[in-house]
């Protein structure tokens, strides 16, 4: 079975500072990895995904994540955050080839302060 651990429940950071949201997963088989973002009282939006190929994946709004197989991690980073990045971020994993069930971490609340 797969599991996902997001190491920080809350991450406060000042505007324009860099941020890293940590995600570790556990799986005995190959997986696909995702980051989702949730703004208050809204559904989840796919931020970025790792399926194969380059281990560094980027989103259109400046976030990036790096798949590290040896450390079973998929940390999310942004070099300079904005107030509008304040949201909850979820890391998720799915096993290749199954019915597509996603296993989510508990979420990390990113709070960007002015």
């Amino acid at each position: 079975a797969q599991s996902v651990t997001q190491l920080d429940s809350q991450v406060p950071v000042f505007e324009e500072a860099p941020v890293e949201l940590r995600c570790n997963y556990s799986s005995s088989v190959s997986v696909y990895l995702f980051w989702y973002v949730q703004y208050p009282n809204q559904g989840l939006q796919l931020l970025l995904k790792y399926l194969s190929g380059s281990t560094l994946v980027e989103s259109i709004n400046g976030f990036e994540a790096e798949f590290n197989k040896s450390q079973t991690s998929f940390h999310l980073r942004k070099p300079s955050v904005h107030i509008s990045d304040t949201a909850e971020y979820f890391c998720a994993v799915t096993r290749r080839g199954n019915t597509g069930k996603l296993i989510f971490g508990q979420g990390t609340t990113l709070q960007v302060k002015p």
Binding site: Y32, F34, Y36, N41, Q42, G43, L44, Q45, L46, K49, L51, F90, T94, R96, T99, G100, K101, L102, F104, G105, Q106, G107
Partner: protein
């Protein structure tokens, strides 16, 4: 393009009352569909998933049930709500390996 709808957006129901939440997807056919629950301050828990009409898999034994009467319709139900059923319910559909979520239904059981 594909869109996913959920209704109602919010719902307040007394303990013991029935529940019906609806999810519909547009712009795709035969999607895999999922119901998740997000309790306050917690992550998402997969409740049910469906790979086709009439095919429902339950992930967690509980007070809820799901049905898929049409290809792009997924319904979450309960005969008698419990206080513990309160939460934010999210429907999702699968494209390739990623899932796309609806706007959610906030359910408060009083």
């Amino acid at each position: 393009s594909q869109t996913i709808h959920q209704w109602p957006a919010t719902l307040v129901q007394p303990v013991g009352s029935p529940l019906s939440l609806e999810c519909t997807v547009e712009g795709t056919s035969n999607p895999n569909l999922y119901w998740y629950r997000q309790a306050a301050g917690r992550g998402l828990q997969l409740l049910f998933y469906s790979v086709g009409i009439g095919q429902i898999s339950s992930e967690v034994p509980q007070n809820l049930s799901a049905s898929r009467p049409q290809d792009r319709q997924f319904i979450l139900s309960s005969k008698k709500l419990l206080l513990s059923d309160s939460g934010f319910y999210l429907c999702a559909w699968r494209q390739s390996y990623e899932q796309y979520f609806g706007p959610g239904t906030r359910l408060t059981v009083t």
